[in-house]
Symmetry: C2
Subunit: 116 residues, 2 copies
Amino acid sequence: MKKADRAAVLDVPALSTEGDDAMARRLAALAHPARLRILRRLACADACCCKDVVATTGLAQSTVSQHLKVLVEAGFVAYEPDAQRSRYSLDRRALAMVRQDVDLLLAGCSAGSTCS
Amino acid sequence: MKKADRAAVLDVPALSTEGDDAMARRLAALAHPARLRILRRLACADACCCKDVVATTGLAQSTVSQHLKVLVEAGFVAYEPDAQRSRYSLDRRALAMVRQDVDLLLAGCSAGSTCS
DNA sequence: TTTCTTCATCGTTCATCGGCGATAAACGAT
DNA sequence: ATCGTTTATCGCCGATGAACGATGAAGAAA
């Protein structure tokens, strides 16, 4: 099969669902043990600064800052600069939405689902 | 902070949860739009061969084979060779377990959760 | 046997991730 | 003004991921 033909097939809406990219991005943001730990750490307080998270993860500060950035960009964590500190706080609403993501996936994979 | 000190911190059970690695691996297996498409494609029939999936994804056969391998290794898809074909089938039970993963994560991030 | 189909695997290329140290900026404290 | 703290970002590196084409094996079909 040539690439052009594959592209043609790709354009068929079929199961595209279109939201797959967004869901995949959200899942990827969660698909790292350090980030899961960080999320739970953030759940302990209204807000944490980067240093607090560093202390609980055992990772370098720069590494933690990167993970936090990933979580912020995925929407799971809110960021607000506070003097020389940074206030990171968990967005439980956004986090709860991944449950809907999974539910939607499960629905799309339910026994009665069709490919149309 | 020196690396040895960070390692010491890391050994503190704290929020380790230990299952984070496994959950992260499962989520990583789902964190790709092509694999989400493939899962839904597999949901349409009792079993699909690789070729069928290729037709719906627009990707090269070798690429699809790789994605299927990832899904099989993550446990979401069952594999059984069938003559020159391969029978891939969705494991809905395994897929449903990610819902529990998410629920557990949400519980660990609930408002009342403590860092101990 | 020979041919065709289907598939997994290999090797390659390119991009991204994950981790680190170093550095500079911002700010409070002295 | 200077020092210490906290943070984000940069550059670097090794490892992994994603995609492809090519190849060979296994089996159906001719």
